[in-house]
């Protein structure tokens, strides 16, 4: 059992607060992705769980042990670093065996585990090489193999794919997902790449400014952002936001049209819709086309609605040109609302 519980953890670096009182539980065998822009505190949180950083306050529990005072080696974790940290002076074999040697496992067990993880990561032909003779992708595989060889309760990954080129990243992403699902460890994975997060995670914790803004499964995070930030961060292109003013009970005026909405205790809220959740039709939001970007399957149209930007993904068969006037109809069940004061979703 390796459930991770983080209780009221905060971290200050001098006057800077990297992490405001974070509470979260990562279930046994769950793949949790910490997602956020750089400086949001996700790496700090990971390093606190690893024991490479001491929290200014709070507790970290792995399974039924409180670990925040323990050194990293007593926490039952393994880690994959952003720059791989594959030791240059050791062969691939010795790199993978490093943790096993530290744990003083018998040679036969070391051999067995190195062989197994090397096969798993398809690097069995590289075991005698040094890291200087490996490509970035191969080093990445060594770093993952080294973590898996520990057969840890928890694997921590700090942006492990960010130094790979786009194609390799795609390949490794799929492979990681398979390997980690099979290893049945609890995984915490830090990334700033939303696509990576969506594709890997059982659950995503979106972080911003040292807070966890939302923790939910990928589809929930995408469909029902708990906060404006989540909607504006996840999705490419992100969610559209338009100002809405009260038109009556549960009625709001958006771009001149009255639409049904939530019962919010304010006169002004925000209407939000994802670019792919609008279609062309009668009586929609009147929009003037500014930029047209064909993306292959779809065409991304950036339009102007009363001075606000609204982006829509339309079928690429449609011919649109800058200056055209479109009528964009939002799919009613995909419309979301946000409170501009608290920045939180209004339901």
């Amino acid at each position: 059992m390796a459930e991770i519980r983080i209780k009221n953890v905060a971290k200050q670096f001098g006057a800077f607060t990297a992490l405001h009182s974070v509470d979260m539980t990562i279930r046994d065998r769950e793949f949790m992705v910490l997602l956020g822009a750089s400086g949001c505190g996700k790496t700090t949180l990971l390093r606190i769980i690893a024991g490479l950083e001491t929290p200014s306050q709070g507790e970290v529990w792995i399974g039924d042990r409180r670990v925040d005072k323990l050194p990293p080696r007593e926490r039952g974790i393994a880690m994959v670093f952003q720059n791989y940290a594959v030791f240059p002076h050791l062969t691939v074999f010795e790199n993978i065996a490093f943790g096993l040697r530290m744990a003083k496992l018998p040679q036969s067990e070391v051999d067995r585990r190195v062989k197994r993880t090397a096969e798993l990561m398809h690097i069995e032909q590289l075991l005698k090489r040094y890291s200087g003779q490996l490509s970035g992708g191969q080093r990445q595989r060594v770093a993952v193999a080294r973590a898996l060889a520990m057969e840890p309760d928890v694997i921590l990954m700090d942006e492990p794919l960010s130094n790979l080129d786009a194609l390799l990243r795609l390949e490794m992403r799929a492979e990681l997902k398979g390997v980690l699902a099979e290893s049945k460890t609890t995984t915490i994975y830090v990334t700033h790449d939303q696509v990576e997060a969506m594709s890997l995670a059982d659950r995503i914790s979106v972080m911003n400014g040292g807070y966890i803004v939302q923790s939910a499964d990928p589809v929930e995070v995408y469909r029902n952002p708990a906060a404006r930030f989540v909607g504006s961060f996840i999705g490419n292109p992100p969610m559209n936001f338009l100002p809405a003013t009260r038109a009556g009970t549960n009625q709001w005026t958006v771009a001149g049209r009255v639409v049904p909405g939530p019962n919010a205790p304010r006169d002004r809220i925000e209407f939000a819709i994802r670019p792919e959740d609008m279609r062309l039709g009668e009586d929609g939001i009147p929009a003037t086309v500014r930029v047209v970007e064909p993306l292959g399957a779809h065409t991304l149209v950036t339009t102007d609605v009363d001075g606000s930007m609204l982006r829509a993904l339309v079928d690429s068969d449609l011919s649109v040109a800058p200056g055209d006037h479109l009528s964009l109809v939002p799919q009613p069940d995909r419309v979301r609302w946000f409170d501009p004061e608290t920045m939180e979703a209004v339901r």
């Binding site: 080696r73 952003q82 030791f87 520990m150």
Partner: protein, 280 residues
């Protein structure tokens, strides 16, 4: 033209070295194998058969064998501490580096002021009532004390140069390696042994070669503290050149020192060799 430019710019320095270093070096080498106008190994024979040669050789090697390992251990410890510091690092480096700014003769004299009959050590011991009258520490009857005093002065004087090199080398090792080792179960000592030390090899090479060569050339500190009671190779070179006025034997001594230095340099390069591909 731009391809030749670097060589052109290096030409003055190269020419300078050839004229003022390589040429005299060849002359000395020739001199060591010349006796009364003809080539012979007479000079080496004379050098070896002199009673002081064995002692000088033994003293020099012994001194290096004691001083360099102690300095290596000390400089590694100091560099490790300095590297960990977040504040006051440069101040500490400056303090450690003070002895580097002092000439070796001056360093010898400082330690002479401590150990001589009217020195600080005697006054202190006398003041504390440990001894009843000043002791002659550095007499020919106490070769071990002379040896210890010279070793101490050398350690005090020249450890910082190794430390400075090692601090620079440790700064080049990315922090992630230490963290990875920590996560994968290494204790502080294991991290030092299994990660820092192997990755420090290039800097260790530089520091050791520099120190070992200088250890074989030890001279002024020995003269200041031991006089002629503690013969070393460099001192013998000096004696043959100026006191005994035999340039041939002095040249032979110089060649022996060179030979030892080259041999140890090669040895260190071999021992601390980092295979290609295993470099950081």
């Amino acid at each position: 033209m731009p391809r030749l430019l670097p060589y052109l710019l290096l030409l003055p320095a190269t020419a300078f070295l050839c004229v003022f270093f390589l040429y005299p070096f060849v002359l000395v080498a020739m001199e060591s194998v010349t006796r009364e106008g003809s080539y012979s190994l007479d000079n080496f024979q004379r050098m070896v058969s002199h009673w002081k040669f064995g002692t000088a050789m033994r003293n020099t090697l012994l001194l290096a064998a004691v001083v360099v390992p102690v300095q290596l251990a000390l400089s590694l410890a100091m560099a490790s501490v300095v590297t960990k510091l977040s504040t006051g690092r440069s101040t500490l480096l400056y303090i450690f580096a003070i002895p580097l700014g002092i000439s070796d003769l001056a360093a010898g004299l400082i330690w002479l002021a401590i150990f001589e009959q009217t020195g600080f050590l005697n006054s202190a011991l006398y003041g504390l009532g440990v001894i009843e009258q000043p002791v002659l520490f550095l007499s020919y009857q106490n070769p071990m004390v002379i040896f210890a005093a010279i070793a101490l002065a050398e350690i005090w004087r020249a450890t910082a140069i190794m430390m400075v090199i090692l601090v620079a080398g440790m700064g080049l090792i990315p922090k992630e390696y230490g963290e990875a080792a920590e996560v994968f179960g290494a204790t502080a000592w294991q991290r030092f042994r299994k990660v820092t030390l192997p990755m420090l090899k290039p800097s260790l090479q530089t520091a050791l070669i520099l120190r070992v060569i200088l250890a074989f050339e030890v001279f002024a500190v020995v003269i200041a503290l031991g006089g002629t009671n503690f013969p070393v190779l460099m001192e013998e070179t000096f004696q043959w050149q100026f006191t005994l006025q035999d340039r041939g034997v002095a040249a032979a001594y110089a060649m022996v020192i060179l030979g030892i230095s080259v041999a140890f340099t090669i040895l260190i390069l071999r021992l601390l060799h980092v295979p290609k591909g295993a470099r950081v």
